[in-house]
């Protein structure tokens, strides 16, 4: 039987922990991603938010936006939760758990920007949230198709067997792209008006890392 690390996709095995057929594992690849997530969680915990410079229209005047402390605390909590969810998605060895973590990242992403009272930001967050909600259909659909065709959701078991239908893989990727906010930045850049570098950065960060992990999953299974 072919194992994950016989596939020459993601480097050596660093660690694996067997819970029945579900095996959370660290390869060089996922280990590096997880370490990076931890660094970013630390930055989100210890970094103060930026104070954005705004230009007053019609003149040369500019001013720094004030940071509202309770809102900042909420954003920080959500950013840390987002980092934790991303870490979970990096570590897990189960496809359904991965989709759950992806949805959790989606929820916390909405939470991060929700603290901002700015109408434009809330509008963007709402539209984004609707897309993220719709993305649960391909995400769970992909996981369910994998379960239905192979009878297993463990990446460890499915690795190298080549039995997962292409449609399920495509649905997984589509779902992750929907959950991650990054593609929507292009249409909804207003979200940058929300307060704070480490927090809004976390949104972008989590969606990129989810994308990186789903590529690994799709190549392995």
């Amino acid at each position: 039987m072919i194992q994950v690390f016989d596939l020459n996709v993601e480097g050596r095995e660093l660690f694996s922990l067997s819970f029945g057929d579900i095996v959370p594992y660290f390869s060089v690849y996922t280990g590096a991603l997880a370490a990076f997530v931890i660094i970013f969680i630390l930055i989100a915990i210890f970094s103060l938010p930026e104070r954005q410079m705004n230009i007053a229209f019609g003149g040369d005047a500019y001013y720094a936006k004030e940071v509202n402390v309770p809102d900042m605390r909420f954003s920080r909590f959500m950013a840390i939760a987002c980092g934790a969810a991303t870490l979970g998605a990096m570590v897990t060895g189960d496809i359904f758990n991965f989709t759950l973590f992806a949805v959790m990242v989606g929820i916390t992403n909405i939470g991060i920007v929700a603290a901002s009272g700015n109408k434009h930001v809330l509008n963007a967050a709402f539209q984004y949230g609707i897309v993220a909600m719709l993305a649960t259909v391909p995400l769970f659909g992909g996981a369910a198709l994998i379960l239905a065709t192979t009878g297993s959701l463990s990446i460890w078991v499915l690795a190298g067997a080549g039995v997962v239908p292409l449609l399920a893989k495509a649905l997984l990727v589509l779902g992750v792209m929907g959950e991650g906010i990054a593609p929507l930045y292009i249409g909804k850049a207003e979200i940058i008006r929300a307060q704070g570098a480490p927090y809004v950065l976390m949104i972008h960060f989590s969606s990129l890392l989810l994308f990186l992990r789903v590529i690994e999953i799709v190549l392995v299974i």
């Binding site: 660094i39 930026e50 990186l212």
Partner: protein, 280 residues
Amino acid sequence: MIEYILAAIFAGLLLHGIHRKVIARVQGRPGPPIWQEILHTLKFLAKETWIPKTASQGVYVGVVAISIGLWVAAFALLMAGESLLLLFALYVLHKIVEHGIGLASGSPYTKFGAIRSVVSAASELPLLSSVALIYLITGSLMLRDIEAYQVINGPLLLPALPAAIALYMVILSKIHYGPFSIVEAKELVSGYWTEHFGVWRGVMNAAFGLKTFVLLYAFVMIFIGPVGVPVALLLVFLLMISLSFVCAATPMLAPYDSVTVQTVTTALVACYIIYLGVFA
């Protein structure tokens, strides 16, 4: 390790200098001396350094450290012949660095640079498609396996030509003064790193030199194969000059044109991959 890293940073900065020189000569200007970027970096290191009061301090400093750590990791990965997928991941994470640097300071210019960096996320997709194509051809993503494959079957450049073109586009989109470098266009002052000065700028200059070297060396490793360090360095040099010619001859594209070109490249390579998967 450290001696190789410092040498690579030096080589990368020298390549930047050569890049500027070639562009200038193509455009009929004398141009700066080729060690200009090295001097630049040293000069920035000796400048007064502070943190803007509006900045998010942790991100402002942390992201600079991350940028250098990221490319040191990529360099170590090349030396160890580790997974190409991980190189792709580090390249994608560089987007976080650009975004983070842009958002950290609170300045509107850098913020625009950061948003443009996200808009040009399409520039990562060609690399993904070339990774996929190489996996399809060699059956492994380990750089050492790819090199071993090339020792037996000859350079990958011809069989994987679309992948090579895609990777060339990727490098082109990360090089300074290129047609795709909308993130540091002059209408945004210096783009995302406008507010990083002094030591931060110097360290980032070093990181970006390392980045250029790593990307070019990865290109040689993946598509030409193991040729020994002197020949590889020569090929890196030639590659850099060809990139400089492209940069000198093309205007900077508008953001949406740039994204369109990158997306179309990805789509073409993806079509080629599907063609290979179905007919070969």
